[in-house]
Amino acid sequence: MTAKNNPNKCLYCGGCVGVCPVQAITLKDTRLVIDPKKCINCGACVSICPVGANKVEK
């Protein structure tokens, strides 16, 4: 189970990187990378996203 980012919605603002409690997200210049090994599926990245680009599996 891991959070997923929709690159067609994402604006690469990095908000989710800041709130991720386990540092599973890295922001590259125009790309968001979520490390499935670190992700705990907590949904913080979903809550903060201004455009609804992140999803977690329930």
Binding site: L11, Y12, C13, G14, G15, C16, V17, G18, V19, C20, P21, Q23, T26, L27, K28, D29, A44, S47, I48, C49, P50, V51, G52
Partner: protein, 409 residues
């Protein structure tokens, strides 16, 4: 860049904090490298671009017409029922900036003073070795390393460099707003010399919508809301714009987003070989979420301590501790008072906003926000204005609990 180059100081992040720091450091003839993962300085902005005149004075910075694109003379606050309170002065009170020009201006100053800037260079790891930090950098699909005894993390809300060096800069979701903004053109129906702020639970739950005018029918139209809201910031802004006659036919020329760390500053902005400034240290006004001036000042204070550390060759967290104290003494403590103002605002419902818009003055609103009500102000506020609304009295009582001079029941 050559492999394993060494710099006295490496700054990660070429935003206002990092660039302001680099100018000050380079002016002291200390070798400084500025790295940024992005492809353009000042872009994409995560910002509404307003900067009050007080910051220009404090920072001894001349407003330049190239990047001060609108002169601001006051503000208007609107309650959910459309009532507004307004303050407009004859004299200038600040500017709306064009940040990509402003920050490139800062970058030019930094480079002229001797700093080196590298874009599309991303730090992927940071490790300490023999009282130095080895930064591994990814650029153009290759990795390289750079060595330095002191890193300044000015890498924004998505700061990872501080975390790599053992300083937790994580944001608390409860104290973080989700921001979303359009730069729009072809819009009308608002005073171009005022900042406009719109409140209400349907408009912007736990936050507000803003119009920050730029030139010729162009403005930053944005929203900040609490991170825990069910719907996204984009949803609320799009819905609101559709209802505004002056805006709905405008065109969007830029889309911006970002998280806003409104919960007050990090308790600790240093550790061994590391100083933090700007959004990475949560250097944002806790009430309105603005951060350009604070980041510039924070960057400069960090630079002052970075210069001292370099001259003395002392880079331990203990040696660098004076930076955090200096920041709080100079600005942090004063701004932290405003955190209470935001917590108060978040508790108001639509009726409260409507009532306040019809009863308090802009001066009072600003004083509440600044945590600057005098004893006399409070007495007047309670006895004349809030007394008919017990719910509001309760909220305000809680807000002022720790203050001296609070009226007794």
């Amino acid at each position: 860049m050559e492999m394993d180059e060494k710099y006295d100081i490496v700054i990660v992040g070429a935003g206002p904090a990092g660039l302001a720091a680099s100018i000050k450091i380079a002016n002291e003839k200390i070798s400084v490298l500025v790295l940024d993962r992005k492809q353009e300085i000042g872009c994409p902005k995560r910002c509404a671009e307003g900067l009050g005149l007080g910051w220009f004075n404090r920072l001894e910075m001349e407003p330049k017409k190239e990047w001060c694109v609108q002169s601001i003379h006051g503000a208007a606050l609107y309650s959910p029922n459309g009532d507004g309170i307004q303050m407009k002065r004859k004299e200038n009170m600040g500017y709306v900036l064009e940040r990509k020009i402003f920050e490139k201006d800062l970058a030019m100053q930094a480079v002229q003073a001797g700093a080196k800037i590298l874009l599309k260079h991303q730090v992927i790891s940071a490790e300490r070795k023999d009282d130095e930090v080895i930064l591994t950098i990814e650029a153009d699909n290759q990795t390289t390393t750079v060595r330095t005894p002191l890193v300044l993390a000015c890498d924004g809300v998505d700061s990872l460099v501080s975390k790599m060096l053992g300083l937790d800069t994580k944001l608390d979701l409860n104290e973080t707003d989700a921001g979303y903004q359009y730069e729009m053109t072809g819009i009308s129906g608002y005073d171009e010399h005022l900042l406009h702020l719109y409140f209400g639970t349907d408009v912007a739950p736990r936050g507000y919508i803003w119009i920050f005018p730029k030139r010729d029918g162009t403005a930053n139209v944005g929203i900040g809301i609490g991170a825990y809201e069910e719907k996204t910031a984009k949803y609320y802004l799009d819905k609101w714009i559709k209802e505004q006659d002056g805006l709905k036919h405008g065109s969007i020329i830029e889309v911006n987003a970002g998280a806003i760390p409104v919960g007050g500053f990090l308790d600790k902005m240093q550790t061994d070989n590391l100083l933090v400034a700007g959004d990475a240290g949560h250097m944002v006004d806790p009430i309105h979420g603005g951060g350009i001036g604070i980041a510039l000042e924070g960057g400069r204070i960090a630079a002052k301590h970075a210069i001292k550390a370099t001259r003395e060759g002392k880079y331990s967290g203990e040696d660098l501790k004076a930076y955090t104290k200096d920041w709080y003494d100079t600005r942090g403590n004063e701004l932290m008072k405003r955190l209470k103002g935001r917590h108060l605002l978040e508790q108001l419902n639509d009726d409260d906003f409507n009532y306040l818009a019809g009863s308090i003055t802009m001066e009072e609103a600003l004083k509440i926000g600044n945590g600057a009500l005098t004893k006399k102000d409070k007495l007047l506020l309670f006895s004349k204005k809030l007394v008919t609304r017990p719910g509001l009295v309760k909220i305000f009582m809680k807000y002022m609990k720790d203050d001296a001079g609070m009226p007794k029941k």
